[in-house]
Amino acid sequence: MKLLQELREAGRGQDMQAVVERIPYARFLGIQVDQKGNEITTIMPFKTELVGNVNLPALHGGVIGAFLEMTAVIQLLFDTSCERLPKTIDVSIDYLRSGKPCPTYGRATVTRHGRRVANVRSEIWQEERARPIGVSHGHFLLTPI
């Protein structure tokens, strides 16, 4: 059974928390979704397994990249109806500040939505929304229903 189809049939096609709970790596990172109307914020609480530099300490660059990518995919799934999870074609990440040992939040915007490809920008921050720790833009391959 396909994950997205299963959720749609259960009437939870727009329930993004249910989606992340079914993606093992998202569950491992501890990603949650805060959904208020059509506004989606992803949340990644801090835990030791996410650290890349134990001295500072700072979040691993790969974790920051994964969270940006996950934030993009969640927004894309919310905005569109897909048969399968979108496939990342490419992603370009700017690391702006080191990630502190505290919760990280993410928002994404689908900047262009074509039939097969979508462009998505993501931004993640910690204590201050105006001081993002990372931004990314990526292209995703879609499988429309």
Binding site: Y25, E49, A66, L85, S92, Y95
Partner: protein, 146 residues
């Protein structure tokens, strides 16, 4: 002196995804992660999450910045920019390797490219280019671990 292999084990997220060092010499750095259920990105297919490859490539690039003869703790760095192209899904239930080469190192910045593959570096599943800021502060934050 701590070896790069030991240093890798002490990076919590690298350990969490099961990263180990295959080789590190003048030609670059090769690492490996075994397939694991908690790294899956698409439960319908069992394919690894793109973010796992991001973590693998980012970490391997960082390791390639350090010459193999250096104490890994003596060079500090932070990723500035990372761009990844995903060419193909990683085949489930098989290891993934990453090979990184630092092709230019200046006083402040290092430029690195890397390839993730399963069978051979000639058949990449993902490639990336990254730049790193060198000699970044590494002292504990004043706030410490919260």
């Amino acid at each position: 002196m701590e070896t790069v292999a030991q240093h890798l084990l002490e990076i919590p997220h690298a350990a969490a995804i099961g990263m180990t060092l295959v080789r590190h010499d003048e030609r670059g750095c090769v690492t490996r992660i075994p397939y694991a259920e908690h790294l899956v990105g698409d439960p319908d297919t069992g394919v690894l999450h793109g973010g796992v490859l991001t973590a693998l490539l980012d970490n391997t690039c960082g390791m390639a910045v350090r010459p193999p003869s250096y104490d890994p703790g003596s060079i500090t760095m932070a990723t500035l920019d990372l761009r990844i192209d995903y060419m193909e899904s990683a085949a489930p239930h098989r290891d993934v390797y990453a090979e990184a080469v630092c092709y230019k190192r200046t006083r402040n910045i290092a430029f690195v490219r890397a390839t993730a593959y399963q069978d051979s570096p000639d058949e990449p599943i993902a490639t990336c280019v990254a730049s790193f800021m060198l000699n970044t502060p590494n002292a504990p934050r004043r706030e410490g671990l919260s």
